[in-house]
Amino acid sequence: MSQASAPSIDDWRCPVCLEMLCKPVVGACGHVFCFWCEHKSMDVFDKSSCPTCRMPFSNLPAVCEALHFHLGRTYPKEYARRLRECHEEEKKTGNFSPNPTPVFLFDFSKVNELLSRGLQNRGSEKRLFDFLEAQEPMTEPDMNGIFECTPGMEDVETHVLWEPVVLNCGHAVCKSCASSTLTFGPGSTSLCPCGDCRMRVVGDKMPAVCKLMQRVIEASPIAERVRREAALREEAAWVNAETELAEEEEEEEDHDGEEEEDHDGEEEEDHDGEEEGEEANPLPGAVPEGGEADVDVDDLRPNPETFVHVAVGCDACGVYPIKGRRFKCIDCPERMGFDLCGACHGLVEARFVERGPRLGAIEGRFNQQHRPGHRMREVHPVPNFFHILQQRHPDLNPRQIMNFIEEQILAQQEGGDGDPITNAADNIVAEILDNLEPNVDGAVAAEEGTAGGNIMEAGLEGGPVEDVVRADAEAEELLTRQLFGDEDEEEEEEEEEGDVEVEYLSEEDEELAADARRRGLDAS
């Protein structure tokens, strides 16, 4: 084992924005990026790949609290500056990232002070940043406070992390703890063992060790002790596994004091996942292979099991985009909306029942506060421009399709004849209709006039795309906003503040939304 030196401030630079990491997320390959940099790097239509090693992945990870806290403690001034910058950006877009509670940032004697100042409440970001900025940097990492593993095994106590793998919920577990308690890949029913997280463990295989975090641990004064303890735990787990193996008469494996064999098809990541990841197994509900080259008009009729909800992610497991069934909260007021994939929907419902109204609340990827009592509606698949263009031009990638649409609009704008957006939309519709065979399902054509705004929203911003039918005027207004600046937006948002912003699915839902508004007032 080579002795690593502690990461220097340059090692904490995000490979995408080249600034110090801000709200770091750790990919399944172990590479670390800012939350927003990772989000913006993701493909709105299909699997994404890691900006550094190109390993394919499907889930936007949640902020890794350990690294977030560690950066705050080690570089309070620089990190406060980054958090400020990030927050200013977020105010411009109206979409926010979570602010993991800061009470652990410094020692516990500060907890009361922090709580009394209300620093971990939403809306008090400025005070939090000021507080952070005023702190002295800590010279040693807080191993027991921050880099802790809670594997949720009866006979294993909480301990300091060794060779941490970061799960999709942002929590870290030792690689060996993960391999003895969790399963990965399609069909896995494992939940995150950390504290009260209990989110679904997702991904095609066990995540690779986060080398950056491991370097912090290896450079700490207690590294040697941590390493020894980890070796003992591993040995114990190994004995257990061997006994089970003997009983089940599994295939023989040669254990020569090496690490665990992998049940999960996980690669050994001795070089930081630097090699290309192999094409991963499809997730449950993923679009089946084949049938891509030949586009059949029948394919335009969406199959609810495989439909891709372009640019909409699940707020529990982070899968992006959602493929298959999708549920949307009609009570969460945040601009981003709160969505769940089919698999997480059931889990979140069960969680609400189990934990009740206060403890059951969950924080979305974009800091939405989704609570028991909120009502979820299934969003039925309705193909928009994007799906149709994708079908027509399987050779184009989503960004190229976005460019195509943008070009259409710019061309119209320069032409200056009539309203550019309407004309561009007409052109695209014409282009699509030209290509459609005559027997196309009428339903497809009916949606076309309304979906433009959604596409633009997806491509230009990576925000949610609503598949609901909007009035033409509304879609147009949205397009204008996305394309020609946000001047009107702030006003509008101020007006709507505190209000429940709902995408109306139908008159019935409108009633429900009005009801939600009333109840919202009652509750406050």
Partner: protein, 191 residues
């Protein structure tokens, strides 16, 4: 566009004098740049200085920079007509962890190691595969004719003889990517 990152990138490129790659912003528009790269040694492009037009979209760095050779290049993966480049990282293999500099360095590497099986210019690729020696000859000729640094000095001298200041001449030639006629026009119109 992430202008913070762009500023960092440009500073980094400017401080690096070894790679044989330069990038400059043209005028006020940060999204439009011009790069130069040295023809790699032991390639038919050796001794040449190649100008590259670089345009960024609003989504940069989440979308690849658009790059095109301004200097004429005889190469299987570069259009001999318009300088369009066929290189995977400028298309679907782009990653936001790459940069303008890494893209320029990749172009330089592409000059050393053509990929005739994934051509941009079918005629050049055919020649590369069928009669490699002719290809080398042609590529060298073009390098001497269009990308020669000496030629540039000659041009510089000529323009200076016409009474323009050295700084102005250099600036104009660089903006015109070494095109003498265009540089003269720039000088005459005082742009």
């Amino acid at each position: 566009m992430d202008t913070n990152r762009l500023a960092k990138e440009l500073r980094e490129i400017q401080s690096d004098t070894k790679s044989g790659v330069t990038v400059e912003v043209l005028g006020d528009n940060l999204a439009h740049m011009q790069g130069t790269l040295k023809g790699p040694e032991e390639s038919p492009y050796e001794g040449g200085k190649f100008y590259v037009d670089i345009q960024l979209t609003n989504s940069y760095p989440f979308e690849a920079p658009k790059m095109r050779f301004i200097t004429k290049v005889w190469h299987p993966n570069v259009s001999s007509a318009n300088g369009a480049i066929c290189l995977d990282i400028l298309k679907d293999q782009w990653s936001p962890a790459l940069s303008i500099k890494t893209a320029m360095l990749s172009l330089q590497a592409l000059l050393s190691t053509p990929e005739p099986n994934d051509p941009q210019d079918a005629v050049v690729a055919r020649q590369y595969l069928d009669s490699y020696e002719e290809f080398v000859k042609h590529a060298k000729e073009w390098t001497a004719k269009y990308a020669s640094e000496n030629r540039k000095d000659e041009k510089e001298e000529k323009l200076k003889e016409m009474g323009f200041g050295e700084a102005a001449v250099r600036n104009a030639l660089s903006r015109a990517a070494g095109d003498e006629q265009q540089a003269l026009e720039l000088l005459l119109t005082g742009l």
